[in-house]
């Protein structure tokens, strides 16, 4: 366990260093750069398992390592801390709020159930609020540290996976980090699932991707795939085609889709009604 946490600390720290470099642009316009920094950076939502299964040595090691990692974190990130049970220790999003998260982690005590679904719903609410009231340009990462399974939601682990897919559909990256071989049910549903002792995978998964690729890079794309891309281009940006019927968002859409569906249904009803009336009129 100790090795697993140490490797987690190592790779997350490397990730932060890499990120902080990208904000290290020198400028004489402190106010301008502060404005830029306030709008960008990464917003971390830490969903920390403080359930009964973490009692004892496990949570002590996790707290110590997590606090150390936070202290090493680079600047310009926002932090939100949501333990599964100890609601009084919640930390709302704070820019450069590492110290507050450290205090909360220090006071964390294990005990209670594993309500991951509820906590993810809470996380989404906080992210939504932050996007609407502070900035929509932050990279949002939800990091779920858990060594166990959902114990509150009747849907169990499937409900957790559904919640994660819902978050991802909202442009939120979800990192599942499992301990002691547990939590692996997140694999395939989270943006990335990593066993805490897998250093290489952790490092790879946490690095930020580029939105664009150099123009001289040639991709292998079949004719069929080209057609599929052309079709995709007609879909609204940000909407992802569903991989399979199981990938149904657990979170409500912004209403736009619902409204469009409603309009479509009304139009169909009106059209059908009109046809019926016309046919009745002809008969009479």
């Amino acid at each position: 366990m100790k090795n697993q946490l140490s490797s987690l600390v190592y790779f997350l720290s490397a990730h932060f260093l890499a990120l902080s470099n990208s904000f290290g642009q020198v400028s004489e316009f402190a106010e301008l750069e502060a404005e830029y920094a306030s709008q960008t950076g990464t917003a971390y939502t830490i969903v920390f398992d403080d359930s009964g299964s973490m009692i004892g040595q496990k949570i002590r090691e996790a707290k110590q390592a997590f606090a150390w990692w936070l202290e090493k974190a680079g600047p310009n990130n926002a932090w939100c801390f949501l333990p599964l049970n100890s609601r009084y220790l919640d930390v709302e999003f704070v820019k450069n709020g590492e110290s507050q998260v450290i205090r909360a982690v220090k006071n964390l005590e294990a005990g209670g159930i594993t309500p991951i679904v509820d906590t993810l719903a809470l996380a989404y609410e906080k992210i939504k609020t932050r996007r609407e009231t502070v900035t929509p340009y932050e990279r949002h990462l939800v990091i779920i540290l858990t060594d166990g399974a959902e114990t509150k939601d009747p849907g169990g682990n499937s409900a957790v996976c559904k919640s994660i897919v819902g978050l991802r559909d909202k442009g939120i990256e979800v990192f599942g980090i499992g301990f002691h071989g547990e939590g692996s049910y997140l694999d395939g549903f989270a943006s990335h699932y990593v066993a805490a002792n897998n250093r290489e995978e952790l490092q790879r998964s946490l690095s930020q991707v580029d939105a664009e690729v150099p123009l001289n890079i040639e991709f292998l794309i079949s004719g069929e795939e080209k057609k599929a891309m052309a079709l995709l281009a007609t879909m609204p940006a940000g909407k992802t085609p569903q991989v399979n019927p199981d990938r149904v968002s657990a979170f409500e859409d912004d209403g736009e889709t619902d409204a469009m569906v409603l309009i479509f249904v009304v139009l169909v009803i009106v059209a059908v009604g009109a046809l019926v009336l016309v046919s009745l009129a002809k008969k009479s």
């Binding site: 939105a211 940000g238 991989v243």
Partner: protein, 605 residues
């Protein structure tokens, strides 16, 4: 020339116009010789400036009320501030017709011209051709028009739609240059439109020529006219209250306000000029007069600032101001009861220049809206339209107001137009927001760096437009290319977790990113590109003009990352198309109805 303000004369104008339209009067279009120096007005015999009482023209413009107040009225008054400064009594005379002013100027009845910087430039060639002693010396800037003038048109969504259209404007009036600016910013030349001229700026009951003599009337009566430069009350009438004209109640069907000086707040500069010969002989008197008028402006500005305090305004001071403004309303608006209209015009629809504004206008040669730049722009445009045969610039008195100890240089306090970033965004997204100017910067893949030194001319132009449209929002929109995003979406939708790309001549497999990772990266990249334009502009202001961060007003800038939501090519299939998607746009957006005012009518009651 006659520049008349809002609501007071509103109903009066409407009644005249209704009558004119009802009688089916013809529009009296006028010609303007090309070049203008061939106009008969320049055949006026030149004479020396007459001694004795000094004749000084004023026009129907609120800032001229300040001049009248300094003179204690229109009549000669040796004991008034202006009279003492001039060393002789000054007789102020309303002369709204610029041709009449020119005749008096050339003949020596008056050494002064009262016009806009555009009008003075138009006349400069003809006057200098008579004699260099008549070359206008601009010695005082009175104000900017910040809402009293504008342009209204039908069938025009954006300025570039004016190509091939017919527009009407007052001959030799302040709107000739406004039209020039609109056309220039739309990328059009004078040859792209047909311009018709009329005598008055608005319906003028004193014009002895029967028929229609104003742009608004011509727009109503002549269906071949697509647009008109007009004053604020006419704009409201033509467009059914600033919306879209219906054809009823003197509106023109389909007519919409395109732009007013509330947005283009640094175009129409009202100035006084003096004959070169008289200036040479009376430099100190002219300076003393200018100083007196600017001190009087400061007095009025203090009162206007008090009104802007709204509920916490000093009520006794407000009463005093309204009292002293009554006779000025009587002179400027022909009705002493229209005092609130007068104050509204003075404080909102115009902006007094003050000492600092004169210092900036004449002294800052790098200002894109200063005296030097304005002359250059105006002359170039008049030359291209044939109104001037070769550039002939007026000169400036170039008084240094802050060199002496008697006048302390003011602390420049930047006053944002909008109260917050949210207000800027909401104005940019309002229903009546309209694009005035756009420039697009390209970026290499995944890059968001922009250096103004790579685009010096572009930033000069941007600075000119940003300054000129002082009431507009400057929206910066960054965009990311959506090729890789589409590719990953497509692959993910097919269940793939890897993709292949060519490395060293052979395809190799790579793990496929998640869609949300790309979406986050695209959002940030697009915002960074938009912000790069703002950063580059700030660096331009610092390095090109020597401004400190505190001296810059970037409060009208709205930075917006569009992610992959608005690509130029939704399915980019070539490097060219992908390159075109990787961009940052600077868009100047007119937001007329969203511009907050310092005070309202309720604050005057």
């Amino acid at each position: 020339m006659k520049r008349v303000f809002p609501s007071f004369l509103f109903s009066l104008f409407v009644s005249f116009l209704v009558t004119g339209a009802a009688l089916g009067q013809k529009v009296n279009y006028l010609e303007i010789p090309k070049p203008f120096k061939n106009d008969p007005v320049f055949k006026t015999p030149m004479g020396s400036v007459k001694s004795g009482i000094l004749q000084m023209p004023f026009i129907t413009w609120a800032a001229d009320g300040v001049t009248i107040h300094a003179n204690g009225g229109e009549k000669p008054n040796a004991g008034s501030k202006l009279g003492r400064a001039a060393g002789t009594p000054v007789k102020l005379e309303r002369v709204d017709e610029f041709d009449k002013q020119l005749r008096a100027y050339i003949s020596g009845d008056s050494p002064f011209l009262r016009g806009t910087i555009g009008m003075i430039n138009l006349a400069s060639e003809g006057l200098t051709a008579i004699s260099p002693e008549l070359t206008p010396v601009v010695f005082l800037k009175l104000s900017w028009s910040t809402g009293a003038d504008g342009f209204v048109a039908k069938g025009v969504e954006k300025l570039s739609d004016l190509k091939g259209k017919t527009i009407v404007v007052q001959r030799t009036g302040p709107h000739m240059d406004l039209i020039n600016v609109l056309l220039e910013d739309a990328g059009l030349t004078p040859a792209d439109v047909t311009v018709k001229y009329v005598a008055d700026i608005t319906e003028n009951p004193d014009n002895p020529v029967p028929g229609i003599n104003d742009p608004a009337g011509a727009f109503r009566a002549d269906s071949s006219v697509d647009g008109a430069a007009a004053i604020f009350p006419d704009i409201l009438t033509l467009t059914a209250g600033g919306n879209v004209g219906t054809g009823a109640e003197d509106s023109v069907k389909g007519a919409k306000p395109i732009l007013t000086t509330r947005t283009a707040s640094r175009v129409i500069a009202d100035v006084y000029a003096v004959r070169a010969d008289w200036f040479k002989a009376n430099r100190d008197r002219v300076k003393s007069m200018a100083k007196t008028l600017l001190e009087e402006q400061k007095f009025f500005r203090d009162h206007l600032d008090n009104i802007a305090k709204k509920k916490s305004a000093d009520q006794a001071k407000l009463r005093e101001f309204k009292q002293l403004s009554r006779p000025l309303a009587g002179i400027i608006l022909f009705d002493e009861a229209a005092v609130e209209d007068f104050v509204f015009w003075l404080g909102l629809d115009s902006e007094l220049a003050l000492f600092s504004g004169n210092d900036e206008f004449f002294g800052n040669e790098r200002s894109p809206v200063g005296f030097a730049a304005a002359n250059k722009r105006i002359q170039a445009y008049y030359v291209s339209g044939g109104l001037i045969s070769s550039p002939t610039y007026p000169t400036a008195a170039s008084f240094k107001w802050f060199e002496s100890t008697s006048l302390a240089a003011p602390v420049v306090a930047l006053k944002p137009v909008f109260s917050s970033a949210q207000a800027v965004r909401s104005a940019a997204e309002s229903a009546d927001a309209g694009t005035l100017f756009t420039y697009t910067f390209g970026f290499p893949a995944s890059m968001a760096d922009l250096a103004w030194r790579d685009y010096p001319d572009v930033f000069n132009t941007i600075h000119e437009k940003v300054t000129r449209y002082g009431g507009a929002v400057v929206q910066l929109r960054g965009h990311s290319d959506n090729f890789f995003y589409n590719f990953v979406r497509m692959k993910r939708s097919r269940g793939d977790t890897s993709y292949e790309r060519k490395v060293g001549g052979a395809f190799k497999k790579f793990p496929l990113p998640q869609v949300e990772e790309l979406s986050n990266a695209a959002n940030k990249l697009s915002y960074s590109r938009a912000f790069a334009v703002k950063r580059a502009y700030a660096q331009y202001l610092r390095e090109h003009f020597g401004l400190s961060a505190q001296e810059m007003d970037l409060s009208r800038f709205d930075v917006k990352g569009m992610g992959v939501s608005d690509p130029r090519h939704s399915n980019p299939s070539s490097p060219q198309q992908r390159t075109e998607n990787m961009r940052g746009e600077l868009i100047i957006i007119g937001v007329e109805s969203e511009i907050p005012l310092d005070f309202g009518m309720e604050d005057l009651r």
